[in-house]
Every structure is written in structure tokens, then in C-alpha cells.
């Protein structure tokens, strides 16, 4: 038998007990090294044991509970998706979601962790697996060929009760199951399972038995030429996948989610839990939002409140507006548990630095949602933060979630207007190096935080907020042509009309939401021409790249623009 790198068989690679709280286990299968770790939510991750950045082993990294942090340059990867969530060399930027480490399939069953080289085969329990409380023996690594190990195990069976060979390098006799984990052509691990809980003497007995078997196998193997080790090709990660992209990427496809739970979190705030239909949702960073496509055709942005590596569903908070503009009203009144909704992939305009010595989070009302996510990330990494949450009496949304945090969380409920300013001033304090404040709330509060912080010595780079509105005066005086490359159309955009309006007048359906250059929904790739950017969504380097634009407010400096529409 020769081992194959593409063998689709599921093999045990660890015992459940090998993965205690916040540990990273160094796994091996078919010539590959694996970083195996259990997140605080119990999920087990099996990843290629190399950081995408410099190839450093992730098994020497730090298990932070929801993310794995590489020891070398501190890149962090999310539980479940292995998507990169933070790059310390770019502390103020959001990494692209698509920077993603290689993952392998995983199952935890019968006291063991199982994995396979690929997804080609579904996991199947071994014959007789069900109905027992399995106990894994101490694993026994052996420097010998896996098939030789299997043969030696089979020879342990008494003559009158020969071993029963099972699929995937395993066998059983006398109530004991043995699995041979093929580490490499000349290396294996014997993993035994007992159907009942053994006493100490039994455990020692098996350990002695298997140690002797190992010694015999290794003596025999030493006399033979060593087999050629398997040579897994490390798929080189392209520069595009392993480095920070300079520019915004137009949104990919929408994702269908199911409304798993809808509840009243506070007077006027409705919580929605949006779950993946199968597998997990994409990686997000703290501060990220999704576009939600509503049944009435509208699109609205909502911040993700989740903590690190929490990817089975996104939880958002929706404010019930009294003078509703339609968006939240539809959600609150017509969407029910079990309904399907379409969302975009997460995008982050509000990235959180994780190199601050002190982080101040200031939330007003429904503005708590991105800050709850940030607090959860800081909390898991044991970083220092203070969260100030201003609400009207009775309006404390996500209270139990906030009370579960370990950092300083201060509720300011029903403060008179005059006191809010003073409270913010003392919450901020004087600025010193490496302190950052993040604020989300009504625009009056944003202004108070910005002006108070500035007066107390906080530099602009230390004050972080997300634009929900574009206050710039839009100059729509230009007139130009747009060529829509994929629609084979050329349209004239006169002064006084936006590109978006002209496209719609001509029968195109193009997504949009805020229509003031703040939300990013109408982001479009530019193929040719010079853009006159007027939005607040793209950052300066994205604008300079001239490779994308917001068609709702931005225009052309050149006589002609070619768009990828």
C-alpha cells in the first residue's frame, strides 16, 4: 500500500483531551503539518500549520479563544473561517476578508478529533461506533510505515479471535479498536479506543503493550531503507491573497441567511439573529457592517455585533423609527423568524486598532452595535478598554451581552443633555500616546465627542467614527459620457443628474442605498477615465487608485468614463 497525499479517508489526528482550553495542538496527517485548536465556543479548527505571512508555524501561536494569533508578526485568524482579521503592520486598516488560511475538514466524535486531506468523502462512523462512551488510549507515535503498524497490531490478536479489519487503516479485536493515523510514509500514530472507562491498571497495561510494539516496529524499520516521505506542495499564496489590498473591492454575491431569532432587546430596539443556511458566514472584523436587502427592494446597512470567530450567525440590532423611512419598518413589522433574507459580505469602514494601550468606546443608543463587537474582540484578547453607553431610560439594548464582558462597561442611562457633555469629557480624559476613541451614535453625540476630544488634546488619528451621512455639498455641474462595458451601452450624463439616475432612466437595475456617497452599496469598478470622487465612503488611497467609484454622487473629470457594469 502506498500513501497518497490526496487520500480522502478520515483519520483520527488527536484525542479530544489533547485540546484543552486555549491550547494549540500540533497535528500531522499524510505528510502535512496541522495547527489544531479549540475555540471557546467548542469548535475545533484544523488548519495548515503555516501563517500566510512568513510561513511561521501557527502551532506556536496564541489561542485567544475566538482567533488564533501568529507568534511572529501577530496576524490574527478567525475561528471557523481561518480568515485574517487583523494585521498589526496595518493597525488602522481592515484586512480583506479573502486573506484566508487553508483549512481541513474536521469532526469530533468518539473521544477523537478526525480530519481528512480533502472534502471528497463524508465522515462515516466506524462500524459499532454508536452507543458507547469511548475512551481514547494514550496515543503511541511510531517511526514505522503505517501499513507495517497495522499488520503488527493485527498480529497482537489471539489466534482464536483474529482481528477484524475495518476501512481506513483500522481494526478491532477483543472489544478494543485501533486506528493507525498515517503521519507520513515512515511514521504513524496508534490511537486505541476502549468501549468502557478503564481503570489506572488497564491504562498502564495498554501503554506497556503499545510501547513494546512500537519498540519492535522501530527496530525492524531501522533495518530497512527509510521510505520516501510524502511531499505536500505548499500552495503558494498569491501576493494578492496574502497582502493588504490598497483598494476597496466591489461587493461579491449576496448570501442568503435565515432569520433564526427575532426579539425585543430594549424599547425600540429589535435584535435579529441571521444564520448561515449551511456552514458558517464569512469572516468579519470588529466594526464591520453588512448590507441587508429588504423584501421591498431597499438596502440598509447594519453593524455586526458578534465577537471574534463567532460565524454561525450574525446578530444585528434594528431601531424602530417612529417616523420610519421604510427600511427598519419593513424589517420590524413584516420579517419573521424563519424568513430568508439576502445580505452582502461584511465590509469594514470602522476598523479597530489592537495596539492601543487604552481604548475608549462611546456609544449612543443604537450606536452600541459596532462597539459591542469591538468590546468583545478586545475582551477576548484581554486588551484594556472602557465602554460608555449612553441611552434614554429603558433603552438599554444588548444589556445581558454587555454584562457578560470583563472590561469596564459603564451605562449612562437617562442623563440630562447638559450632563452628557461633561460625562464624555471625563470619560475621554487627556490624551496620551497610543490611546484611541471610537464613537457611534447620533450626529450630535459624534460632534460632542469630536470637539471635546480635540479640546483635550486628542489628535484626529485617535478619533474614530463611521460616516452614515455625507455632509459635503455635491457639485453636479459636470456633463460627460459613461460607457457601460458589460452592458454595451453608452449614456450621456447631463449636469444635474447622477450616473445612477441616468442608468436607471435607461432601464438598468443597479443596487443603491443611501444615495449620498456614504454607504458603499453602489460601488462600481472603473475601467477607464478619471473620476471626480465626492463620496465619504472610499479612503484616500482608494480614491487615488481611480479604479472604483460611487455612482450615486461621484462624477467624471474626463469627458468619458468606462464602468464595469
Amino acid at each position: 500500500m502506498t500513501l497518497s497525499l490526496s487520500d480522502p479517508t478520515w483519520y483520527p489526528i488527536a484525542s479530544s483531551d489533547d485540546l484543552p482550553f486555549r491550547h494549540v495542538y500540533q497535528g500531522q496527517l499524510l505528510g502535512r503539518e496541522l495547527a489544531v485548536w479549540r475555540a471557546d465556543d467548542g469548535n475545533v479548527n484544523v488548519w495548515e500549520n503555516r501563517c500566510l505571512h512568513r510561513g511561521v508555524r501557527l502551532s506556536i501561536g496564541v489561542n485567544e479563544g475566538g482567533e488564533l494569533k501568529c507568534q511572529y508578526h501577530g496576524w490574527r485568524y478567525a475561528n471557523r473561517s481561518a480568515g485574517c482579521t487583523y494585521i498589526p503592520a496595518h493597525p488602522a486598516d481592515a484586512p480583506a476578508r479573502r486573506i484566508q488560511n487553508r483549512t481541513y475538514p474536521v469532526r469530533e466524535a468518539y473521544g477523537l478529533i478526525w480530519s481528512a486531506a480533502n472534502d471528497d468523502q463524508p465522515f462515516r462512523p466506524f462500524p459499532g461506533a454508536e452507543g458507547h462512551d469511548w475512551f481514547p488510549l494514550r496515543p503511541m507515535p511510531v517511526n514505522a510505515a503505517p501499513e507495517d503498524v497495522l499488520a503488527a497490531l493485527s498480529a497482537l490478536a489471539p489466534d482464536d479471535q483474529p482481528a477484524d479489519l475495518m476501512p481506513g487503516l483500522s481494526l478491532r479485536f477483543g472489544g478494543t479498536y485501533y486506528f493507525v493515523q498515517p503521519v507520513d510514509a515512515g511514521r504513524a500514530v496508534i490511537r486505541g479506543l476502549l468501549a468502557t472507562q478503564p481503570d489506572a491498571t488497564t491504562l498502564r497495561h495498554y501503554n506497556e503493550l503499545l510501547s513494546k510494539l512500537r519498540d519492535r516496529l522501530e527496530r525492524a524499520a531501522a533495518k530497512k531503507p527509510a521510505p520516501e516521505p510524502l511531499k505536500p506542495a505548499f500552495e503558494k499564496v498569491s501576493a494578492e491573497l496574502s497582502t493588504m489590498p490598497e483598494i476597496a473591492v466591489p461587493r461579491g454575491n449576496t448570501i442568503t441567511v435565515v432569520v433564526k431569532r427575532k426579539w425585543t432587546s430594549a424599547d425600540g430596539v429589535i435584535g435579529f439573529e441571521l444564520a448561515a443556511r449551511d456552514g458558517h458566514l464569512p469572516t468579519f472584523q470588529p466594526g464591520a457592517h453588512i448590507d441587508l436587502h429588504l423584501p421591498n427592494g431597499m438596502t440598509r446597512q447594519y453593524s455586526i455585533t458578534n465577537g471574534p470567530g463567532d460565524l454561525m450567525s450574525y446578530v444585528i440590532g434594528v431601531k424602530q423609527e417612529s417616523a420610519s423611512k421604510g427600511g427598519s419598518k419593513v424589517l420590524v413589522e413584516t420579517v419573521r423568524e424563519g424568513d430568508l433574507l439576502a445580505i452582502s459580505e461584511p465590509r469594514n469602514n470602522f476598523p479597530l486598532r489592537r495596539d492601543a494601550t487604552r481604548t475608549v468606546l462611546i456609544a449612543g443608543g443604537i450606536g452600541i452595535t459596532p462597539l459591542l463587537s469591538m468590546a468583545r474582540f478586545l475582551d477576548k484578547s484581554s486588551l484594556n478598554y472602557e465602554l460608555h453607553y449612553f441611552t434614554r431610560a429603558g433603552d438599554v439594548a444588548f444589556r445581558s451581552e454587555l454584562e457578560a464582558l470583563h472590561g469596564k462597561v459603564i451605562f449612562h442611562t437617562g442623563l440630562p443633555r447638559a450632563e452628557i457633555g461633561l460625562t464624555i469629557a471625563s470619560a475621554l480624559g487627556q490624551w496620551s500616546m497610543a490611546q484611541h476613541v471610537y464613537v457611534c451614535g447620533p450626529s450630535a453625540m459624534l460632534e460632542t465627542v469630536r470637539s471635546t476630544a480635540a479640546a483635550q488634546g486628542w489628535p484626529d488619528e485617535a478619533i474614530h467614527f463611521e460616516y452614515f451621512k455625507n455632509d459635503k455639498v455635491i457639485d453636479d455641474s459636470s456633463a460627460f459620457e459613461v460607457e457601460l462595458a458589460r452592458s454595451a451601452m453608452t449614456l450621456h450624463v447631463p449636469s444635474g443628474k447622477t450616473i445612477l439616475e441616468v442608468m436607471r432612466d435607461n432601464g438598468l437595475t443597479v443596487p443603491s442605498s443611501c444615495e449620498q456617497g456614504a454607504c458603499g452599496t453602489c460601488l462600481t469598478t472603473v475601467i477607464e477615465g478619471e473620476v471626480d470622487h465626492q463620496d465619504v465612503y472610499l479612503n484616500d488611497s482608494e480614491k487615488r487608485s481611480n479604479s472604483c467609484m460611487m455612482t450615486c454622487v461621484s462624477r467624471a473629470k474626463s469627458p468619458r468614463l468606462v464602468l464595469d457594469i
Binding site: 491550547h23 507568534q71 477576548k380
Partner: protein, 216 residues
């Protein structure tokens, strides 16, 4: 009372002493000795302190001491008011000393492989690597059964001792000698526990483990 450590930053044996003194909160001065490439541990002035020509050497007032295991015992017996790092009970003392000897075997194997690969020393590399694997196998077995019996450390008390400090550095640095630890999961878990001891400090090549439990 002033402690001076004659130290080489990249030496695991010197690091053992820095580690324990850090855990005990003991202040100490460092005199750097250029072990590599300067070979100052074979210079006359050094040989007058330790005729064996080995690092580390520690001075405490009038005393001059050598051998990291002996110095760990001295520091614990003199400065550890809890008495936990080098317990007095004869049976436990024997256990600790037994592991101090294992620590020397780890130096002679894992550290030798590292010196051969990283510093051009002349050792039989396959032989010392094999010796290290043999010790790591035994440690992994000892620690795996320990976990089943509720023992987290090398010796039987419910807390770490100088045995853990003495064995730790060249286990952690073994990869620099081409000795992987992927076959020793219980040994790897024990290195997490050592790295979570309050007062733990690092050296080049040895990283912290991150928190075990969220502090409330």
C-alpha cells in the same frame, strides 16, 4: 545583598535562573559573558570562578556558585518564602533532584543539537537528537499519566517546582536543534502551563502562551 548572574543571553541554562528569579521577584545584576563566538567562559578570569568553564555562574554576596540546578536549589531555599519551589520533604526533594538530572540529560542532548546546528559545535547530531527524543518520550508518558491522575507538573506537589524550571528551556528550544515536539502532545501542554506561571519571562526563541482563563 546583591545577586550577580554571569549570563549569556541565548543560553537556556542561564535563562533557568533568570526565570526563577523573575518568578520570585528577586532583583539581580547581569554580567554578560560572550559564550559565542568569544568563548569567554574559557578565559582565565572565568575559570577562576568556575574551573569547569561552564555558564551560568551566580554570585550572592561572598558566595560563588555554578551549575544551574544547584543554583536553582540555592535560590529557592534562600529566597522562596513559600517553600514550594524546592520543597523540604525528603521524598519530594528526591523527586526534584531526579528531574534536575534529567534536565542535565536534556542539556547534553537537545542543547547539544542546538549548539551543533546553530553555533557550529562538533557533536554527533543524529545521536544527540535521538537521545533527546528518548527523553521527550518518557516525559510525555510521565505527563500524560500525570494529567489522568490530576498532576500538572513533573513532581507530585500541586504546584511547579525547580524541576519544571530546570527541564523547560531546552524542551522549548529543541526545534533549534532539529528536534520536533509534534509527537509529544502532553509535553507540549506542560510547556503551556509553565509559560502561564505568574512572573514568567521569555528569552529569544521562547514565546509566551497567552492567557489560560479570562480574568474577571
Amino acid at each position: 545583598m546583591a545577586i550577580t548572574l554571569y549570563d549569556f543571553e541565548l543560553s537556556g541554562n542561564c535563562y533557568k535562573l533568570r526565570l526563577l528569579m523573575n518568578i520570585l521577584g528577586l532583583p539581580f545584576d547581569i554580567v554578560p559573558v560572550d559564550f559565542f563566538p568569544g568563548r569567554q567562559h574559557k578565559a582565565d578570569w572565568f575559570l577562576r570562578m568556575n574551573p569547569f568553564g561552564q555558564l551560568p555562574v551566580l554570585k550572592d554576596d561572598g558566595l560563588t556558585l555554578s551549575d544551574s540546578g544547584a543554583i536553582l536549589a540555592y535560590l529557592a531555599k534562600t529566597y522562596d518564602t513559600t517553600g514550594q519551589w524546592f520543597p523540604d520533604a525528603p521524598a519530594i526533594t528526591a523527586e526534584v533532584l531526579r528531574w534536575h538530572v534529567v534536565a542535565d540529560d536534556i542539556t547534553a542532548s537537545s542543547s547539544a543539537a542546538r549548539l551543533a546546528l546553530g553555533y557550529g559545535y562538533d557533536f554527533d547530531i543524529p545521536k544527540v537528537q535521538k537521545q533527546a527524543h528518548r527523553i521527550f518520550r518518557l516525559m510525555d508518558e510521565h505527563l500524560w499519566f500525570g494529567e489522568r491522575e490530576g498532576r500538572d507538573w513533573l513532581c507530585s506537589p500541586a504546584h511547579p517546582t525547580t524541576a519544571d524550571i530546570a527541564c523547560f528551556p531546552y524542551v522549548m528550544l529543541s526545534e533549534e536543534g532539529g528536534i520536533g515536539r509534534e509527537d509529544y502532545p502532553a509535553l507540549r501542554r506542560w510547556t503551556d502551563r509553565v509559560r502561564r506561571i505568574p512572573g514568567f519571562t521569555v528569552m529569544s526563541g521562547i514565546f509566551p502562551a497567552g492567557r489560560a482563563l479570562q480574568t474577571a
